[in-house]
């Protein structure tokens, strides 16, 4: 899932400073599952904003709603009606939702309520870890299913660097060295020779260094 984290309320307050009526808009997709932008977080954000503004002597009126998804124009449709009632929208969805609202409704002032952090897994209650970086050219088939792009601080592709000590990464000791893990996994499978192959320099274009990415599935696309 796409993992996100509530933005510091101060930043959101600054963004909506000029407005009296604001819609706090949640998303039941990834951000709800990672407890950053679902119903509860919408309530909390709205209450916090109102409280801050009340204390500042400039009361704020908020609307609260949570859509099934914000990354799909279909689910954003109700915004068209609500837009008239509010001067601004604080989207609690990931950056995709904020962008899509901005794309589809140029007249709506939309501000982010969360910081989108990474693609991760819910590894324990209240804990999420990055597992994928969406680099567009998956090599997990070669690395025992563990990603060195997302999980190695230097994105190394030819084995661990000199900072790998006791299976830990030099960056933060609580982080395991993914290359150490890959090594152990392939070693246990008797596939170590895979690691002996030179892994040539990666093409970073599919990872976004070639500009914004898109994907087209011709068989689904309708003409105009």
């Amino acid at each position: 899932m796409i993992v996100a984290e509530r933005k510091p309320i101060r930043r959101v307050l600054e963004a909506i400073e000029p407005y009296q009526r604001v819609l706090v808009l949640g998303c039941r997709g990834c951000v709800a599952i990672c407890s950053a932008g679902g119903d509860r977080e919408v309530e909390t954000m709205a209450a916090a904003l109102r409280l801050a503004r009340k204390r500042a002597g400039r009361p704020l009126e908020t609307g609260e709603a949570t859509l099934i998804r914000q990354c799909d124009p279909e689910y954003l449709a109700p915004l068209r009606e609500w837009a008239d009632k509010y001067e601004a929208v604080v989207s609690m969805a990931c950056g995709v939702g904020v962008n899509l609202i901005a794309d589809l409704f140029p007249e709506i002032r939309v501000y982010p309520g969360v910081d989108t952090t990474f693609y991760g897994a819910n590894t324990a209650l209240g804990e999420w870890q990055e597992k994928c970086r969406g680099c567009g050219d998956c090599i997990l088939d070669l690395t025992g299913g563990l990603c060195p792009i997302a999980r190695c601080a230097k994105n190394l592709l030819n084995g661990p660097c000199g900072g790998s000590q006791g299976g830990r990464c030099e960056i933060r000791p609580e982080v395991p060295c993914v290359w150490h893990q890959i090594y152990e996994r392939l070693s246990a499978r008797g596939e170590l020779d895979r690691l002996m192959n030179f892994f040539p320099a990666k093409d970073w274009r599919p990872a976004g260094h070639g500009g914004p990415r898109d994907r087209i599935r011709e068989d689904l696309k309708m003409d105009k």
Partner: protein, 126 residues
């Protein structure tokens, strides 16, 4: 100077009636929940919105919670609320959590009084 405080608690920690609050020289907003674990950060913030200068969240003592870990969750929620208060420029100590024995009004009223004192301090500061 009218001072308001909020008390969010579970049924078991608060059996206090109207007369118990008579001794508090201000307004007390009382909200009872089936379990303190059900108290959300938003509920705490809303109580402040309603005018409370300080809020007490009370739950059963850790080992006696009816729902096993409800009061421990409530304590964490209070931490979350404190963080938000801080972010918006309010003193985090305005909200506090108390583990209380079940069905005993005495210790409960002690905590209410402490909370009221904090509220008074906060009010006089602002």
């Amino acid at each position: 100077m009218a001072v308001t405080i909020g008390v969010l608690c579970c049924h078991y920690t608060n059996q206090a009636g109207e007369e118990d609050f008579q001794g508090i020289p201000g307004t007390v907003i009382v909200r009872r929940y089936p379990c303190s674990g059900h108290i959300e950060v938003a509920d705490i913030l809303r109580t402040f919105e309603e005018g409370a200068e300080a809020v007490l969240v009370a739950g059963c003592e850790a080992e006696s919670c009816h729902n096993l870990s409800g009061s421990q969750r409530a304590e964490k929620k209070v931490q979350g609320a404190r963080k938000i208060l801080e972010e918006i420029g309010l003193e985090p100590e305005r909200v506090r959590f108390a583990f209380l024995p079940r069905l005993d009004t005495g210790p409960f009223m002690e905590e209410v009084k402490k909370t009221f004192e904090i509220a008074l301090t906060m009010k006089s500061k602002s």
